[in-house]
Symmetry: C2
Subunit: 315 residues, 2 copies
DNA sequence: TTGAAAGCGCTAACAA
DNA sequence: TTGTTAGCGCTTTCAA
């Protein structure tokens, strides 16, 4: 019992005892059994679950990196899961997670299956929904508004004199909020009395390649577009590669905007105009808020971490 | 006790009992406590630890994705860690992991601190070292040989008629085996009776930008290089951007090779000659082998998963 | 095929 | 300041 007290740092022992304990611990190479600790006391679990859509998605892997670093610093261990945008997979993972009696759970996005909601209700542990901001969260929410992100770009496009914008997206595999951004973008354009001339959503994976051939399709149909708002940076880069090949000048002949603040966006000869997502901050804040709740410290329910438009040379 | 038997699927109950149990379980919404199970029985832990250098590194995030998917399928839960190439961070993480009495552990790379080795020795759990192949592994090893990877590219360069190759790398932040690849590359060149004219290792982060200006530096000094072997694809893409800007033709004036099988590498106007890394396979095999060992099934110690040279249009 | 007893290593509560 | 007791929910072992 005394050893337990010393190692946990709860008070009730003399300095001399402490030193004797630590010396023995060191001599024996004693490693506490956290399984027993977490099992014996509901308070002692330092396991937290984090579920992201995909580990190899560049955005979510950044968030995960930041989440894990923060939890490590605060003394928690991260159990991971991924759901590939399948609500059922999230539910399956959650069930498995809860059997470990975690201290809390972090979920990406704000949409969940019915079963997930029931599990969460019964578990009575802190929950953070991150990425998309949920203004009426299950518990805590950290993120941004996709629609605002698109709206901001739409207004910027107008301010830069663009009047005939088009939209290019792709839906397969990932759903990083493209549709909502496009809606926000269109609203901004319409509020300025203009219209989005075309909105092409490819049934393909968003990426360099779909951006490349999608741009070709779009411009063959509507050669006088003066801007394309791409679903993300990789598509925008693909589009720019096609434009460059055709000798179409950016932004003189046509402007280009992406989304995401992709590392590679700074790679082109012309810096891409895009929107950067505060992945690190979302991760850090999500983890910190969960811990605040665990410690019964005050924590805001809804935490907006806005995206930021990064003006480049392409719009 | 009967419930425990039914839920674990060990035999010793009638079909009728089974159904009664499952009905009750369902009615009560009973969720087993794996903490108690793992605590009560050394065999029952399905926690496994995985430590990678970084979650946002595109290669390791792919491996992690594959590892987690495989473990999920086999009924294990993944506790993660990252060490940013700091051996001490790996040791700290491992200590924390072991306090959860995991069933096994996956470590990236083959170099570990003294403390790590001692912990692993005492833990007597299966260990997989993945990424670099360790031919005298602690327990199991899955990966490839960096040097062979470079050697293969060197021989290919020779076979394509290149005689005056240079090397361009960068060391800061990451250590994905660049130096070993360069050694292998140089060996192949020398075996063919040629020499690598220059080897420039920038004190910078490998990436598009360092590839861009590094190429400029290299060619200003040695204008008659007929090939550059880059540390990775992002550097190669940066180099190609510079060459294109200068009107230097690839591969007519100079050939380019990268490493890594970067997504964007397959889409540039000229497909990059590179080496692809079997990240998915490394992850899958690592997880599967760990489980084989846990189940006392036969498993090879040393498992080579070679990289593969992808001929493109740049060499 | 089912059940009873003991114990895993810790912590909460209480006693000294 | 230190120690004792009981119990967390499982699994292992042994008995019925």
């Amino acid at each position: 019992m005394t050893v337990s007290r010393v190692l946990r740092g709860t008070d009730g022992f003399s300095e001399e005892t402490r030193e004797r304990v630590l010396a023995e611990v060191n001599r024996l190479g004693y490693l506490p059994n956290r399984l027993a600790a977490a099992f014996g006391s509901k308070e002692a679990s330092t396991l937290v679950g984090v579920c992201v859509p995909s580990f190899s998605d560049p955005y979510f892997s950044k968030v995960l990196e930041s989440v894990d670093r923060t939890f490590l610093r605060l003394g928690y261990q991260t159990l991971i899961g991924s759901h590939n945008w399948q609500h059922d997979d999230e539910e399956t993972w959650l069930r498995s997670l809860l059997s470990w009696r975690p201290a809390g759970v972090l979920l990406s996005t704000k949409h969940h299956s019915q079963g997930t909601l029931e599990y969460l209700r019964d578990a009575t542990i802190p929950i953070v929904e991150f990425w998309d901001l949920n203004t009426s969260p299950l518990d805590l929410s950290v993120g941004f508004n996709q629609s605002d992100s698109g709206f901001e770009m739409g207004r910027y496009a107008i301010s830069r004199g663009r009047r005939k914008p088009g939209i290019l997206g792709a839906v397969r595999d990932r759903k990083t909020g493209g549709p909502e951004r496009f809606t926000g973008f269109s609203q901004a354009i319409e509020e300025a009395g203009q219209t989005v001339l075309t909105k092409e959503i490819l049934n393909d994976t968003p990426g360099f390649y779909s951006g490349y051939y999608g741009t070709e399709t779009l411009l063959n149909r509507l050669p006088d577009l003066d801007m394309i708002y791409f679903q993300d940076d990789t598509m925008a880069l693909g589009g720019m590669a096609w434009l460059q090949r055709k000798g179409i000048r950016v932004p003189d002949d046509i402007a280009v905007a992406g989304w995401g603040g992709h590392e590679a966006a700074s790679i082109m000869s012309r810096q891409l105009t895009t929107t950067s997502v505060p992945t690190e901050q979302i991760g850090k804040l999500s983890a910190e808020l969960l811990v605040r709740r665990l410690r019964d410290e005050p924590a805001d329910d809804v935490n907006a971490v806005p995206t930021r438009l990064i003006p480049g040379e392409t719009l």
